[in-house]
Symmetry: C2
Subunit: 189 residues, 2 copies
DNA sequence: GAAAAACATTGACCTAGCGCAACGTTTTCA
DNA sequence: TGAAAACGTTGCGCTAGGTCAATGTTTTTC
């Protein structure tokens, strides 16, 4: 149950077995069906999720109903609606499991407590933030000035199975192009 | 000299006077002239900067010479080429003072040491990362689907003096539109 | 397992905004 | 302080990619 999580932590920081145990007990398993909503816009996010199996998507819906996908967490990744989770304000985003998934969730109080009392966990959280920051920046700024073809090539290079696991519509909204354009672009790869 | 920095820290975390002193001694003052380069692409970033007066810009140059501005730090803000600073890899970005500025800089070893030995400083760094992440996301994803006029209105609302302090060219490259389009857009506000 | 709903693909049309160029203004620096 | 370089603004033509709609395919639901 906690195998992937243990690997995640162990590979990033030295940690005592007792601390690992303490961490495990804070995470509880959740099973979802396909497209199950984990958080709706307007709610305050109370949990951080770790993906054992399946996939989480974070997205927003603009006026007019258009969706923008911000982030996907696959097996072995963490994900949450960070602004809401951190500041305990109503989320502007939605969070859903886009496949039948097995998740581990931890509530905010426990999470912050672990961050503050287990140095290795605090370190890992800092890493998550740093990496998230770096990834988001490189993806997004890299995209400035990319045309559709370059964006698609970029995602194929950096997340090879992304286009295979995610629907066209979601992938398009992640890349910031229309589904039609993504279709056309894939056709001429 | 350290007044702004003290305010910054004090307003974000309770901290002992002795720890504040320790922090000060790690920061050394730097004066720059207008457009002075602090870091060139390809170099490894060794310093974190705090802006006492003036402004720092982080930007990249694509093939073809086109610039993209990623981030501006004004008075009372922190800035660095984070990916390079964190991972000690050659930076893909440039960092410059775009005005005659007074900065405080701290080197990486001292910075990490403070993060690890002064809890309040570690907390503040985590806050910087969290806020940076949130800001970057909200700016960038908010822009998905914005047309030029909406982008300009957004920046006027969120950073009212931005367009006044930053050249058209830089502002345009920050908003992801061409200087011509920014000119035209401002003309019809 | 059949009807309905959502999705992918492709074609036709249209527009926001880009590149380029011209021209006036501001900044730089010797 | 004066020449040269950089910048801001505006006009013009072009194109990448958006919307809308039609058709076929997959998924959902009862």
């Amino acid at each position: 149950m906690h195998g992937l999580l243990r690997d995640y932590i162990r590979s990033r920081a030295g940690i005592a077995e007792a601390d690992l145990e303490r961490i495990y007990t804070c995470f509880s398993p959740v099973r979802t069906k396909r497209n199950e909503l984990l958080l709706a816009s307007g709610e305050v996010c109370q949990h951080y999720y770790f993906v054992n199996k399946g996939c989480i998507r974070i997205y927003t819906i603009h006026e007019g109903g258009k969706e923008t996908s911000r982030f996907f967490a696959f097996e072995g990744g963490f994900g949450t609606a960070l602004p809401s989770f951190i500041e305990q304000t109503p989320a502007s985003e939605y969070m859903q499991a886009i496949e039948r998934s097995e998740l581990l969730k931890i509530n905010r109080a426990d999470f912050l407590h672990l961050v503050e009392t287990i140095p290795a966990f605090g370190f890992i959280y800092r890493q998550i933030l740093e990496q998230g920051f770096i990834m988001a920046q490189s993806r997004i700024y890299g995209f400035q000035g990319f045309d559709a073809l370059e964006k698609v090539k970029w995602v194929i290079r950096h997340q090879p199975d992304f286009l295979l696991r995610v629907s066209n519509k979601m992938a398009a909204s992640y890349l910031g192009i229309s589904p039609s354009t993504l279709s056309r672009t894939k056709a001429r790869l």
